[in-house]
């Protein structure tokens, strides 16, 4: 191994080349990522590239693939700078190993900003070592050599060599300074910016096993569970005599909260040789639950408590500037509006599942469809009292994430079950009912807005009393609101305040978390303000955003650029031909929404037709700014269209998750309908606003603005202002 490091570079950064068995040349790059604009936090990238004797190239894909296309995209960055052709590249999913690979999370649209530079640096450094090897062999200046298609080319000498033939010599080259290795200029990219299909598409369309639920292992056992109906309730007692004797049953395993700090997942698992058989036996299991502390919670209770809270002074101030009440008293016009949105489930189509194998000696191996294996490792280690190093995690392809699989309850539960059947792999599979009842729900919320407009139509005072869910004076997971929420960040006299309700439901992040709710309430209310000010929302937004400048956010490394916001608004206004005038056709309406989330700036326009109270979305226009480069345009279009339709589902199709007597009552796709093809807009048009900012992620930021755009379009079409989700006329 050659691990020479040039003086002056970050000591944690290096690239090492080595010859592996079979004469494969392996590059391992470990790169420190500096915190800075577009980067979430100081962290590491660890990448591997393997060049095989046939000159094919294997590139490791380190992040969980949930359909966002990361398994294709990250290797594109490496392959382009390595200067191989995409056809030479084979992609391998790595295991979860944060010590080796750094953060391996599918969440927050963070993979692009975190990996854009370092992944390219790793590819470029490997290329530089191959070029140096050829230069030494041919006794020419490395600067005189070029590369293409996995070959080093000496034009003057009329010769070339494959990377594979240079493997041995390259492994002996000193490693370049990763921070200084020259990178391609955008006009030199041959993979980045070109449409690339998903690497697993050929396997998906052939039905090959890829997903967690497809995990197959010799001697595999299956587990179905009877779960406490109320989240947080505990197992009092159970009688498994009618179950244990059944054919094919291997074990009955209580899973108790006492051993399960990550999520109070009391359940009893039936383990056997067939999932179909064990899940049928659940009726024969007699279980007593203690849900005394949970059974008072209900959807109805929350609504009543929220109404009470809105009528009282808020519990706490979130953000205050100037004197909102004084400014409202002087305002030419005051606008008020109460908004709300319900609890929502994730409803990934692949139900939660996880396979685990407890080995003799106290180690455990997982095959886990998880968006956050690092947290899964921590949760399992804490629950089972084992060292994190005793846990091996294989990452499977994931049948939908949307944030549900950022939580790792299924890993914690599968680990407990596996320990009861040591030496035999066991797959825990939730049925749809389990999945719907044991989610980490997008929490509901209520907002009372008050805005003041001066005689010129300027927004001069702003108040929001936000009723959300909390504990100990703080919002619980995914129930928070940023103190920098626009327009509070720019209105001189502002007061954002909150009150907290309690719930037994576990809450969590749903695609574009917080933003999916805030975009709806803030941009819908801003549409009301625009109306009161005698203008339209794009015009009010441009006026309120004001001069181009950077505003701070909660995250020290992320700013909100009013210039970038203005640019997407202006783009979509031109793109959609927005005039602000009502449609001449009865029942037709057009709405606008803007939102900044996950470092992306999106302005969207929606056209609807309302017939007999039914809303049909005709067309969506999207103007998006995710920086200088669309890395994979084929997938970018797909992600933006999918996220927009996902937003329409939240706006128009999904029904609230309903809770009674502590337990969630929403258990099927009849109770929680998902959007089907008939609700697809006829057209979704996308225009990218490019600039010099580094590229950022696209899994989420398209989603939020479409929700208020629909609500505002319904207002335009019908005159009705809908202030709660889902949007329902009559």
């Amino acid at each position: 191994m050659n691990r020479d490091r040039t003086k002056g570079i970050d000591r944690r950064s290096f690239i090492a080349a080595s010859l592996a068995a079979g004469a494969a040349l392996t590059f391992e790059a470990k790169i420190a990522l500096a915190a800075g604009p577009g980067v979430a936090e100081a962290t590491m990238l660890n990448a591997f590239i393997r060049i095989l004797p046939d000159n094919s190239v294997i590139i490791g894909a380190k992040n969980p693939e949930i359909g966002q296309g990361i398994k294709t995209m990250l290797p594109m960055l490496l392959a382009d700078e390595l200067d191989v052709s995409w056809e030479q590249v084979k992609i391998e999913q790595t295991d979860a190993n944060e010590k080796l690979y750094g953060p391996q999370v599918a969440g927050g649209s963070t993979a692009t900003p975190m990996n854009w530079l370092p992944a390219r640096q790793a590819g470029a450094a490997a290329r530089a070592m191959l070029v140096s090897a050829a230069a030494a062999q041919w006794k020419v200046d490395a600067a005189s050599l070029t590369t293409a298609g996995g070959r080093v080319v000496d034009k003057a000498g009329g010769r070339s060599a494959t990377y594979a033939s240079l493997a041995k010599a390259a492994a002996a080259q000193p490693a370049p300074d990763l921070a200084k290795v020259p990178l391609k200029k955008p006009n030199e990219f041959h993979i980045i910016g070109t449409p690339k299909k998903g690497v697993d598409t050929p396997k998906i369309v052939r039905g090959e096993p890829l997903f967690g639920i497809d995990t197959r292992l010799p001697g595999l056992l299956h587990a179905a569970m009877v779960k406490c109906p109320a989240i947080g309730g505990t197992l009092a007692s159970y009688d498994d005599s009618a179950v244990k004797s059944a054919r094919g049953v291997v074990a009955v395993v209580p899973i108790s909260s006492g051993q399960c700090p990550a999520g109070k997942q009391d359940a009893v698992a039936i383990v056997g040789t067939s999932w179909w058989a064990v899940q049928k036996l659940r009726d024969k299991l007699v279980v007593q639950w203690d849900i005394a502390a949970q059974q008072g919670f209900s959807t109805e209770l929350y609504a009543r408590q929220a109404a009470e809270a809105l009528g009282k002074a808020p519990d706490a101030t979130l953000f205050k500037a100037g004197d909102a009440d004084a400014a409202l008293a002087k305002a030419a016009k005051v606008v008020t509006g109460d908004y709300s949105y319900p609890f929502l489930a994730h409803a990934t189509l692949e139900p939660q599942n996880c396979t685990a194998l407890w080995h003799e000696g106290g180690t455990v191996e997982f095959w886990a469809p998880t968006q956050n294996p690092g947290n899964g490792r921590k949760d399992v280690a804490a629950m089972m009292g084992i060292a994190p190093e005793a846990i091996t995690i294989h990452m499977t392809r994931i049948g939908g994430g949307f944030g549900r699989r950022l939580m790792n309850d299924y890993m914690v539960m599968a680990g407990q079950i596996a320990k009861a059947v040591p030496g035999r792999p066991v797959k825990l599979l939730f049925d749809r009912t389990d999945d719907m009842r044991n989610d980490y729900y997008r929490p509901g919320g209520w907002h009372r807005f008050t805005a003041g407009i001066d005689a010129s139509g300027a927004l001069v005072a702003f108040k929001d009393h936000f009723v959300t869910f909390g504990a100990n004076g703080k919002a619980i997971r995914a129930a928070d609101m940023p103190a920098s929420e626009f327009p509070a960040s720019v209105v001189p006299d502002t007061h954002l305040a909150q009150s907290f309700l309690t719930t037994n439901l576990t809450t969590g992040w749903l695609r574009a978390p917080t933003s999916n709710a805030m975009a709806f309430v803030y941009q819908s209310f801003m549409d009301e303000v625009a109306e009161a000010a005698g203008t339209d929302l794009p015009a009010l937004m441009l006026r309120t955003l004001g001069a181009p400048r950077d505003l701070p956010t909660e995250r020290p490394t992320v700013v909100f650029s009013t210039a970038r916001a203005r640019a997407v608004i202006e783009r979509v206004v031109a793109f959609a031909g927005w005039t602000g005038k009502p449609s001449a056709v009865p029942g037709k309406g057009r709405g606008f929404g803007f939102y900044f989330s996950h470092r992306g700036y999106f302005a969207e326009v929606v056209d609807v037709t309302v017939t007999d109270g039914a809303v049909k979305v005709d067309k969506v226009w999207i103007a998006g700014d995710i920086g200088s480069q669309i890395i994979n345009p084929l997938n970018a279009e797909h992600q933006a269209q999918g996220a927009a339709i996902d937003g329409l589902a939240q706006a128009l199709v999904w029904q609230p998750v309903v809770q009674e007597a502590g337990a969630v009552q929403t258990v099927t796709f009849s109770d929680f309908p998902l959007l089907r093809m008939d609700a697809k807009p006829a057209e979704i048009a996308i225009s990218w606003v490019k600039n010099d900012y580094p590229p950022t992620g696209l899994g989420e930021p398209t989603l939020p603005p479409v929700i208020p755009a629909v609500a505002n379009a319904i207002r335009a079409a019908t005159g009705k202002r809908l202030r709660s989700l889902p949007l329902q006329l009559a």
């Binding site: 697993d200 998906i204 039905g207 997903f211 197959r216 999918g642 008939d678 697809k680 979704i684």
Partner: protein, 155 residues
């Protein structure tokens, strides 16, 4: 009980309870996990297979109902002329995001085009509305069907 099923033109013996759905026989007894479990209630379409060319929800189909019929699954769909075209279009257009629903989508699309080689927009909706795509890849699903059918598509 023991019975013989014809899956993708091959005879397969299965020993399973008569009330076991075809979905679980495929996944557990025949080691064919391409057909997916989504809801177990016939609401999402992820488990769609063909029985004598008709799209059915295999989670709602008892094996006793499947016996004596030609069962086609995603693993064997390209043996059908329409299935071959559908899979080619799906690959060319790169329809999947997470990919979990796509086996069911491809089976429904194959049944649709087998019965109706030049479907109208309404026909496509009727044929595909039983299949949920949680990633909402519907724009490309529709385009792939139109391409597989040799119909004009928008750029």
């Amino acid at each position: 009980m023991s019975m013989v099923l014809t899956v993708n033109r091959r005879k397969r013996s299965v020993d399973a309870d008569a009330d076991k759905p075809l979905l679980w026989v495929l996944r557990e007894d025949l080691d064919m996990p391409g057909t997916k479990f989504g809801c177990g209630a016939g609401l999402c379409g992820a488990c769609t297979v063909l029985l004598d060319g008709q799209a059915v929800r295999s989670c709602q189909t008892l094996i006793s109902e499947a016996a004596g019929k030609q069962i086609t699954t995603i693993e064997g769909v390209t043996a059908l002329p329409a299935g071959q075209k559908v899979v080619e279009a799906w690959t060319r257009i790169d329809v999947p995001q997470c990919g979990y629903c796509q086996a069911g989508q491809i089976m429904s699309a194959t049944a649709l085009l087998t019965a109706n080689p030049k479907p109208s927009a309404e026909d496509i909706l009727l044929g595909m509305n039983g299949n949920i795509c949680r990633c909402a890849t519907y724009v490309r699903i529709e385009r792939a069907i139109r391409e597989a059918a040799g119909l004009e598509t928008k750029a």
